[in-house]
Amino acid sequence: MNLFKRLSRRLLPLLAIVVVGAVWITQPLVMVVLGVLLVAWLLLTQGGRQSLAIAWVGLATVPDRLGATSVVVVGIAGVVGVLVALQAMAAGFEATLDAAGRDDTVLVLRAGANAELSSALDRPATALIVQAPGIARDARDVPIASAEIIVVANVPKRATGTDANLEVRGVGPSVWALRPQVRLSSGRSFTPGRRELIVGEGALRQFRGLELGSRLNLNNQDWQIVGVFASGDAHESEVWGDAESLMAAYRRNGFQSVAARLTAPESIGPLRAALAADPRLRVDVETTRSYYSKQSQRLTKVIRGIGTGVAVIMALGAVFGALNTMYAAVANRAREIATLRALGFTALPVVVAVMLETMTLALAGGALGAGIAWALFNGFTVSTLGSNFSQVVFQFRVTPELMLRGLQWALGIGFAGGLFPALRAATLAVTVALRES
């Protein structure tokens, strides 16, 4: 019986941590409601006011044990900072690619090709595709579609000075109507038929030698950069030129993809059916939204997985640190707590007070970590290898949701690190604690 009691005393809090943690991560709203109830209890009942008073004494002594409490705060700040930064990286990459995708534009690739770079469409095929039903036409009755060619050029990166792959996209004349989000921020557009290029702002920032007026060597020919464009999506990592001129430069006679605007999102069905029915074509049709979200999935999944894994291990370390600190804090105040209990305070306010103290420290740590991640990384620009075997430039996005998520973790760690010491404080034998010095 005694053994059972001792065991359950150890196991029950552990079970509580697991249950509360699971609810907290999956159903934060439930916990927020409980939190509100807790605040009401603290303010309205005698026990609540007692807990507040004890917690206040605990927090007031924090400056005296700065070293010990900073373990809790900094430990949790580290976890939250790393978690938020890595999630922000995934969020930024996803947002950049997803912004390039829309429901009313489609991308036509050769059947089986998994990216534009690996696709190939000959001239007759592209002519058939742009004339297919479901593709929108402009005022002059010209299809709003762009047959495009993708090539990759070796250009040194600014940060490292080593060559990286720059995506060069040859576009058709209707591209401005097709991608209205793209606008020139300086210079002018390229002239079809001439060796002129416009460069995306992201590419300009990441690569060396793409400034307005400079020359870029593509397949041993000099191309002049005459403009800079912004689009706020994945296209900003690219350099654009006239498709026909680029094709000539690379001695090719075929395109790689056709991007087109639909008359309405629903018309993808008829378009797909028409292209599938044509025996001269073997192509896949996809909305740009699904194409680009597929491209971002693989990498964001990896980053999110690694980010969470790293944060979990760090969180374990932080829980142990918090346990250590709070045990020490309780031990230091053993006499004080015992005095309170001798005066008639019940166990509950003592538990709540220690928990409140830990959670306050955890919240401070979480806010610190999220704040540091935001200050250091929000808008931080990096690039990585995308699906077209070329660099995709993107920015970290530290969103409010991610920061809240960080605080959620911080409170979870605080709860796990505070519960055992709180119970220890409440179950101290009063006589022993009073006698010990």
């Binding site: 070293g67 430990g75 990286a164 291990i313 760090m314 370390g317 290898l385």
Partner: protein, 386 residues
Amino acid sequence: MKYLPLLFAALLRKKVRTLLTLLSVAAAFALFGMLDAVRVAFDSPQSMVGIDRLITSSRLSLIQPLPFADLTRIQSVPGVKTVTFASWFGGIYQDPKNFFPNFPVEPASYLDMYPELVLPKEQRQAFLSTRTGAVVGRSLADRFGWKIGDKIPLKPTIFPNRDGSAVWTFDLVGIFHAAEPELRASEKQMLFHHDYFDEGRELGQGTVGWYIERVTDPAQADRVAQAIDRQFANSAFETRTQSEREFQLSFAKQIGDIGLIVKAIMGAVFFTLVLLTGNTMAQSIRERIPELAVLKTIGFANRAVLLLVLAEAVMLLLIGGLLGMGTARLSLPAIRAATSGQFDLTMQTQTWILGLGLMTAIGIAVGLPPALKAMRLRIVDALAGR
């Protein structure tokens, strides 16, 4: 050695505290072990194998193929012992998430170029004589449960089959394994006949992706590389010749600065760790001032007390750190299995050495302030509790 019991007594004085500290040290070093394995995999792939190999690709971009005719011209460059070539096929087995590299190669010369790919003799013969034959690495075969004799269909992403079928079919005739465990990454590829590929593809016939050369003297590799590139200077297909290592590094660099990310995370982790263990040590010494004074009273020299406290901190770090790195070592194969071989990391000797160095350094850093304090204790004050 005779002080060992004293050290253990000190560590076991507050068991819960020591245990919790050990566990946080272990968590930090478990993370270090895994992340450093990632860093090593990106920063310094392979070992000494391949120092005499060069890779020639298009100067413009790796996606630009090179003419097949370059083969004989490269062969004639002085200092080049043997040449072979390969291309990127980009075939997909069943689903895009099953990605693995697959290359059309010239079988005999390619296998001679890469002696670390060990293929049984009769399987090698079968590979050479089967036009549709393919060989795969051990881990790739295990991943998909392939056996010799299986037909492997690959969906082309770049090169549709001229015969109009949706897949290229290969006969699995051999399974190779890596000569050394560190080269296990090379077991994840599939090789097949360039002839079969070149005849069956619709575009790019008569070209190859890149050439691989073995040089007679590795010390002369740079000179040979320049000589090869000079051959094709100002031609329509200019080349860039790099050592194999440079070639692989340039890939890793394109993915991003993994090293920097890893260092940033580890910086945050170790900063927290120093704070945590430093605080624990300081607290534990503070509580033991009377005991230390007793030690001094019975004749322990100042230096001995200093060393005792330092040793305690270093030992705490070493036990926790080795525990953590051991956990990391054991969990890497589990991660490998869970991700079906996608994350195949191994902890190299350099990670262990770096880890041990860090444990000692952090141990000294957190142990020194309390150790100095302990050394400077004045016995009378300490015993009097002043």
